[in-house]
């Protein structure tokens, strides 16, 4: 089909901070999709959080028009996240493209996610176009980096455009290469409709919007469509493309990237990865979609004000619409009441979701310590899968426990090898391999328990290598481990939301650190409060909060009453952020304190 020859669907992949979003902005600007005055720095990172953290979380497609050698082309770009937590989202966008631009920083060279993302693209049979960015930096070494790409990634890079996305240097080269190098999409407008939902978001007026790539057929307003996985049928109310703002069109045809709205009210009815087809003339075979990535980090999320449970539920449902990887199910905690056990792709993902709940949905929430999924083999032959420490059976019922492990690759300058190995050793890592990429960089491979890297591994790695190391990991199954549950007792009462599962060699240090930390966080009460850490019935650490002695004895005469009443009202508000465990009041922050323990050990 002639039309398809003028279409290119591609994405940009890179290690975090190598300049994906900046290049995307330049491409949009250069193709005149947006006037310069309408440009906002890092246009495609539309969430405040994305711009603040300098990361891309969501997939954002943009349609651009580009003229090359007298022909008009349509370039569909899908921006992708760069952080290791979001590898899954990258793989989703790859399924909608034929080509991938692989950006590599001209001074930093190949990093952990450069490699991981490049392999993902290769696995998806995408054409890869390496682009060397940041050549404006004094430390830029484009020729060496090109060689590195060829040696380490294994794709030809000698003709890679050398650009500065920041300054706008050589952006035209990139556009020309997109047209010349990337294959055009294959598809047939006359075949039954077949499109992939690669993402979705919620619009208050139009309902759930599906981001789609059409592989075969056409879709227009009024068409009856069917979601192949859920079996639901809808009438299409709107189709369109992103320029980069949503703009409705008459039709989306094979090869197109755009959106589709059909008044989908129920959030769960959009399954990202599903195939959309015609309800009247359906395709026989759905697209293979892609493998659903399982969340690896779990924690409990509870509303500070118990009455806000439903609000929290609705907010999580809304976030889930834009974030297929978020999982949650109801959980009841003795200490925290009703809430949700939530699953995330990683700690950054967890952090982003909790921040969004607080900022965008104005919720006060309590987050419990992050945990991983354990396999618990019981003496009666049963196997339990659990992430919540409080669900762990008693020690006598447990034969053994398996924990998830990961294969980790760390890239860093050679002088940090010692520090990195020390860190991995502390985190119960098993050394696998060390290889030189060039004289300035090594790749260190370790097998590590996932449970260890979710406790500030990133932060420690960064601080011990002055930020030079990069890190990537993949889940590599389960291994048997000597794990124990450490409980926290407040005034003799076990607080389920503070329990943790740790390796037995670390139980004592963790228990002590935790009791010390809680002593700092929990304010004095009317009575002395012992804080104990225990494994089963054995106390391994103890601290004591002494009783409160003085809580304001001010005068209170005619003039003071109103003022004092208002003061008490304020203090009462503060109490709402407290949770009562037995007769002990705990500030909500206490439940998250476990997160920050390692740095203080």
């Amino acid at each position: 089909m002639e039309r398809l020859k003028k279409v290119r669907n591609f994405c940009i992949v890179a290690h975090i901070d190598h300049g994906k979003s900046t290049l995307a902005d330049r491409l949009i600007e250069k193709t005149g999709t947006l006037e310069k005055r309408d440009m906002q720095e890092q246009l495609l990172d539309s969430m405040d959080l994305e711009r603040e953290k300098g990361i891309t979380i969501k997939l954002t497609p943009t349609r651009m028009n580009y003229s090359f050698e007298g022909e008009d082309y349509i370039l569909n770009l899908i921006d992708t996240p760069g952080h290791v937590d979001f590898t899954y989202e990258v793989s989703r966008s790859l399924a909608a493209c034929e080509g991938a631009i692989l950006i590599v920083d001209a001074s930093q060279g190949v990093e952990a996610q450069t490699l991981a993302n490049a392999y993902l693209a290769i696995d998806n049979n995408l054409e890869i176009l390496p682009v060397i960015n940041k050549i404006d930096l004094p430390s830029a070494r484009p020729e060496e980096v090109k060689k590195e790409i060829e040696d380490v990634v294994g794709v030809p890079a000698m003709h890679a455009p050398c650009i500065s996305a920041k300054d706008g240097t050589n952006i035209d080269d990139v556009l020309q290469m997109i047209v010349k190098e990337f294959p055009c999409p294959k598809g047939d407008d006359n075949k039954p409709l077949k499109c992939l939902i690669f993402d979705s978001y919620y619009d208050n007026f139009k309902g759930a919007i599906c981001l789609i790539r059409v592989f075969d057929g056409e879709v227009r307003v009024g068409d009856k469509i069917k979601m192949m996985q859920t079996g639901k049928i809808y009438d299409v109310t709107e189709v369109g493309v992103f320029v980069p703002f949503a703009k409705s069109t008459e039709v989306l045809s094979s090869g197109d990237v755009g959106y589709l709205a059909c008044s989908i009210k129920t959030i769960s009815d959009v399954a990202v990865g599903d195939t959309v087809t015609s309800a009247i003339n359906p395709t026989a075979q759905p697209l293979s979609g892609y493998k659903k990535v399982q969340p690896v980090v779990f924690c409990g999320i509870f509303p500070v004000d118990g009455a806000k449970y439903n609000e929290l539920k609705e907010s999580l449902e809304k976030l889930k619409l834009n974030d297929a990887s978020l999982e949650f199910q109801p959980e009841v905690s003795q200490a925290l009441g009703y809430g949700f056990r939530c699953g995330f792709l990683g700690l950054l993902h967890l952090e982003i979701i909790t921040e969004r709940l607080e900022r965008e949905f104005n919720l006060d929430i309590i987050t419990t310590a992050p945990s991983v999924f354990y396999h618990v083999y019981k003496t009666d032959g049963d196997m339990l899968e659990l992430s919540n420490p409080s669900s762990l059976p008693s020690a006598v019922e447990i034969e053994y426990i398996e924990e998830p492990i990961v294969k980790a690759s760390i890239f860093a300058p050679p002088q940090y090898v010692g520090a990195i190995m020390e860190l991995c050793q502390e985190k119960r890592g098993i050394y696998k391999d060390l290889s030189y990429i060039d004289e300035n960089r090594v790749k260190i491979s370790y097998v590590l328990p996932l449970g260890e890297i979710i406790y500030d591994f990133f932060d420690s790695l960064k601080s011990r290598t002055k930020g030079y190391a990069s890190f990537d990991y993949e889940i590599a199954g389960y291994e048997r481990s000597e794990l124990v549950k450490v409980d926290i007792l407040l005034n003799g009462e076990r607080c389920d939301a503070l329990s943790i599962i740790v390796h037995k060699d670390k139980a004592y240090t963790r228990g002590r650190a935790l009791t010390e930390k809680l002593k700092k966080i929990i304010p004095r009460q009317l009575f002395e409060v012992p804080i104990q850490a225990a494994i089963g019935g054995k106390i391994i650490a103890r601290e004591t909060i002494s009783a409160m002695r003085k809580d304001v004895l001010a005068k209170c005469y005619g003039g003071d009453i109103t003022r004092k009443r208002k003061l008490l009202e304020k203090q009462k508000e503060g109490k709402k952020r407290m949770r009562k465990i037995g007769s002990v009041e705990i500030p909500s922050e206490a439940f998250m304190s476990i997160l920050k323990l390692d740095g203080e050990e």
């Binding site: 002695r549 304001v552 004895l553 001010a554 005068k555 005619g558 009453i561």
Partner: protein
């Protein structure tokens, strides 16, 4: 019955801890102020013609330093009050005074014009502590003033501060002993509060002094309460101790929700369910501007009843709270407090009182028992 409060904002010197509406000023300003004060007293019944506001049983002249007023000035004020209100037979009439600003002549006059209670700002008997607090008297002067006042008055109260620089736990009780053995019938023992904008706040912030620890202040407070209890003083409010019959009737009105009218700068009234305060800046006060008034809702009445009741021996009344819409028995803390004897119940459980042992942490308990 209605109580009358009159505020005299003048001082010879501002105390280091004082955040009240009070200041040093000249005679001309005082005259102007008294004129306005009398004008307001004369006007009161035009604004509040209700019959119940005619009769009063307490008058309290506070400050500032009311003992700075000349006999003539005070005479005019008292005359205005007497012209506008009928004094109940069993009335209480208090004037606050500083040890260094009273003399025999004034005391005689006070007695003659019907004042029957003195509240003396002793604060401490330790000369260094008094100096630190910015007081103009010393320990001797205070004792002499008490002795002299004793010749004319039976009902004498002394204010003392806990937590001044250099506080000594043993000496503290000795000074209380000295006061009560010299005929003092009522003690108000206040914890030093670091208020915003005071000199003490400044020097504490700049770390020029280290004030006694909270723990020590509470210990002194507990020991004071114990010592006074052994000497027939009962604690009828967190900071107030009296021999039976010598409680401040006027101050009790504030804590039990009775009505009172305040005249003068920043003076507060509570009339017909409304709390009204006069301006706390002189220029505004003269222009009748800067007044604040709030009508108390049921929620606020509940909050005040709990907050004030738990600070007093009288306690709080469950039925009253229920009437206003709050069933305190449903509060998640109450049962625990009762079990631990933090809260004591009386009269078929209708009255809830705070165990005096916990007066020091009353804020915590009050905030726990407030409606959600």
């Amino acid at each position: 019955m209605l109580g009358v409060y009159i505020h005299i904002p003048f001082c010879q010197q501002k105390c280091a801890y004082c955040a009240f509406a009070s200041f040093v000023t000249d005679e001309k300003e005082r005259e102007r102020y008294i004129k306005k004060l009398i004008f307001d007293i004369n006007n009161f019944h035009l604004l509040y013609p209700q019959k119940r506001y005619r009769k009063i049983d307490t008058i309290y002249i506070g400050g500032g330093t009311p003992s700075l007023l000349s006999i003539k000035q005070l005479e005019k004020i008292i005359q205005a009050v007497k012209e506008n209100f009928n004094l109940a037979e069993d009335y209480e009439f208090t004037i606050e005074c500083n040890p260094n600003s009273i003399d025999e002549e004034k005391l005689k006059f006070y007695k003659q014009c019907g004042i029957n209670r003195l509240s003396i700002g002793v604060q401490s008997l330790d000369d260094d502590q008094l100096k630190f607090a910015g007081r103009l008297h010393n320990g001797d002067c205070a004792m002499k003033a008490i002795e002299m006042a004793g010749k004319y008055f039976d009902n004498i109260s002394c204010d003392v501060l806990i937590g001044l620089l250099g506080m000594n736990k043993d000496k503290y009780i000795m000074q209380i002993e000295k006061l009560i053995s010299n005929g003092v019938k009522h003690i108000s023992a206040y914890m030093l509060q670091i208020e915003k904008g005071t000199l003490i706040e400044k020097i504490v912030k700049e770390k020029r002094v280290t004030l006694p620890l909270d723990e020590d202040c509470i210990e002194v407070y507990d020991r004071t309460a114990k010592f006074l209890a052994e000497n027939a003083f009962y604690q009828y409010e967190v900071s107030n101790f009296a021999i039976n019959g010598y409680e401040s009737k006027h101050n009790l009105k504030y804590w039990t929700g009775e009505e009172y009218v305040g005249f003068g700068l920043s003076a507060h009234s509570y009339l017909g369910g409304k709390r009204i305060s006069c301006a706390d800046r002189l220029d505004l006060y003269y222009k009748d501007e800067g007044e604040f008034s709030e009508e108390l809702s049921n929620k606020e009445l509940i909050e005040e009843h709990i907050m004030l009741g738990l600070r007093c021996k009288i306690g709080i009344n469950k039925n009253y709270l229920l009437e206003k819409g709050y069933d305190i028995t449903k509060n998640s803390y109450l049962q625990d407090f009762i079990e631990k004897e933090i809260i004591i119940t009386q009269k078929d459980d209708n009255i809830l009182k705070l165990n005096p042992q916990y007066y020091g942490v009353n804020n915590f308990i009050i905030t726990s028992l407030l409606p959600k």
